[in-house]
Amino acid sequence: MKLSSGTVRLIIPAASLVLLLAAVFYMQPRAMSYTGLNLLFNLAVPIALATIAQMLIMSVNDLDLSMGTFVSFCACVTATFLQTSPVLGILILLGAIAAYAVIGVVIHIRDLPSIVVTLGMSFVWGGLAVLILPSPGGNAPVWARWVMTAKPPLVPVAIVASILIAAVTHYIVMRSSFGVLMRGVGGNDRSVERAGWSVIGIRAATYALAGFFAILAGIALVGLTTSADANIALRYTLLSIAGVILGGGQFVGGKVSPIGAVIGALTLTLAGSFLSFMRISPDWQIGAQGAILIVVLALRLALNRLEKREKSQ
């Protein structure tokens, strides 16, 4: 049986997720239930959405260091404007998407390093979030709360949402012609341009799409926490980058995998729960999370080597 290299790249993240899940079930058999699974993966939904947004940016060889502050900003808008005056809220969020598209265009036209521009933007989003919600507060819109606390039969909503996110983004990125162009820009933007496509347009659309998914992340987060504050999602910047890499994505070359990114986000979330089940002292929890990241990546290296050896034989 022959597997495509894309599938092989997915096996490793999936295997580490299953392994981690098995370890959690072994230590805490009660987690093996509808409520247990929902609790384990609840917080993974916004992280998965943010990871997808980061993955889109990475597919055109850029990096978004403002992801965490932007998701926080969106969460603040969701908990205030979107809840009290939906029209204004939607206009603000549309404006944010437009801002993302403009950032993409500016980075391309002036040939700027995306790291610095998004670094600057992270201050802007952070400032806006502080202006909207100087102290923690706000309320989740009823519909956001309803979606995030829905109880579909058999499978908990966190799993359904993750599968849905993976399926939709897999279609956009891997199957649609836009996705091919986007990854093409990451692979070799000059050849995409020579083939008659507008690289500026593709970049603008990619950034706008990333902004859209980041907004969904903010809404999902507020749906879970019921209120927001300006620093609610700061760690998402690093979590989203780590999630993409765990899922087999790469920094350059347009090599990304949406399904992998969702699995990476789930793995990161589960690692947190795993550590609290292990009763590791809170001092060492962050460190242990780092260690898990290293172990998973080492596993990936080992499997890649194995794959290469088989090919050469």
């Binding site: 390093p113 600057g120 933007m121 802007v124 460190g287």
Partner: protein, 315 residues
């Protein structure tokens, strides 16, 4: 034309021009009363950014993807452990400094082992490393805040001829780094690796050794900075390094070092560090709230990079 070429060859001019403008605007607003105090504060706080910035610059010069995210955690751990070791005794100051350099060496080595042995992208390797380092810092920071030894604290907070001592230390370190970068074979090597790792390897440059030394250098500078900052602020705190992650990257890039690697400059780091501090204090003097201050800081960073960057291929 010659002026134009001069500006092209010296990208750091821009960061200094911006710094001088911001300085003048701030001093004008206060009617000239604050010019001395402002300059001193700027030099002091810029000094810390310069020290971490130089380390980050060496790493970024290595080429695309090279970045050290463990800088804040390294600073915290080094500050915490050094103060704990010195235990308010003046006689232990040198021992504390050596210990903090040792911590930097170990963390830098660990970073590069992860990058090389596990082939993890540097951004993730240093991130995982920083998680572990941070945990050690939390574990060791238990209990009361320990003060720095008397002599060290007064050294860090006082100055010579009106120039803060920490700024002098940063100046000496910058001079050393400049010699290392411009006059030594090592500096040529890291630029060559940044421009093309493959070509550098073909040319017989010890790529792995050079990269290892660079990551260790960056971690050592970060830990020395943590040592100084902890002495300056009268004790180590767990979050003392956090603002220096973005700062170390921002000063390198605003200072005119190419993000794609292979091209770096040290004067620009000074310009950018002073600029970053002065922008914040300017907005403070004008009485802006925290939200507006953040927004304007961000917009100014973007404006500077729009004006100064992009003339050469930076990406």
């Amino acid at each position: 034309m010659t002026l134009h070429r001069f500006l092209m060859a010296k990208p750091w001019i821009w960061s200094f021009a911006a710094t001088i403008i911001v300085w003048i605007v701030t001093v004008l607003f206060t009617g000239g009363a604050s010019s001395f105090g402002l300059s001193q504060a700027a030099l002091t706080f810029a000094a810390f950014s310069v020290v971490v910035g130089i380390g980050q610059m060496f790493v970024i010069t290595l080429g695309p993807g090279n970045i050290d995210l463990s800088v804040p955690a390294t600073m915290t751990l080094s500050g915490t452990l050094a103060l704990k070791l010195m235990d308010v005794q003046d006689g232990m100051i040198v021992v504390g400094l050596l210990a903090s350099i040792g911590i930097g060496l170990v963390i830098g080595l660990g970073n590069y082992v992860l990058i090389k042995a596990l082939r993890i992208p540097p951004i993730i390797a240093t991130l995982s490393m920083s998680f572990i380092v941070q945990s050690v810092a939390i574990w060791s920071n238990r209990g009361l805040r320990i003060k720095p030894p008397e002599t060290l604290a007064s050294f860090a907070t006082s100055g010579l001829f009106g120039i803060p001592n920490v700024a002098l230390v940063a100046l000496i370190l910058s001079a050393l780094a400049w010699v290392l970068l411009e006059k030594s074979i090592y500096g040529r090597w890291i630029s060559a690796i940044g421009q093309s790792t493959f070509a550098a390897r073909m040319a017989g440059i010890p790529v792995d050794g050079t990269r290892l030394v660079t990551y260790m250098l960056c971690a050592v500078l970060a830990s020395v900075c943590g040592y100084l900052l902890a002495s300056f602020s009268g004790g180590a705190a767990l979050n003392m390094g956090s603002e220096y992650l973005l700062m170390s990257i921002a000063v390198v890039v605003i200072g005119g070092t190419a993000v794609a690697g292979g091209n770096s400059n040290i004067p620009g780091i000074w310009g950018a560090s002073l600029f970053m501090f002065l922008v914040v204090s300017m907005l403070n003097t004008y009485g802006f709230g925290a939200g507006f201050r953040l927004i304007l800081t961000g917009l100014i960073i973007i404006a500077v990079i729009l004006l100064a960057g992009g003339r050469q291929s930076l990406r």
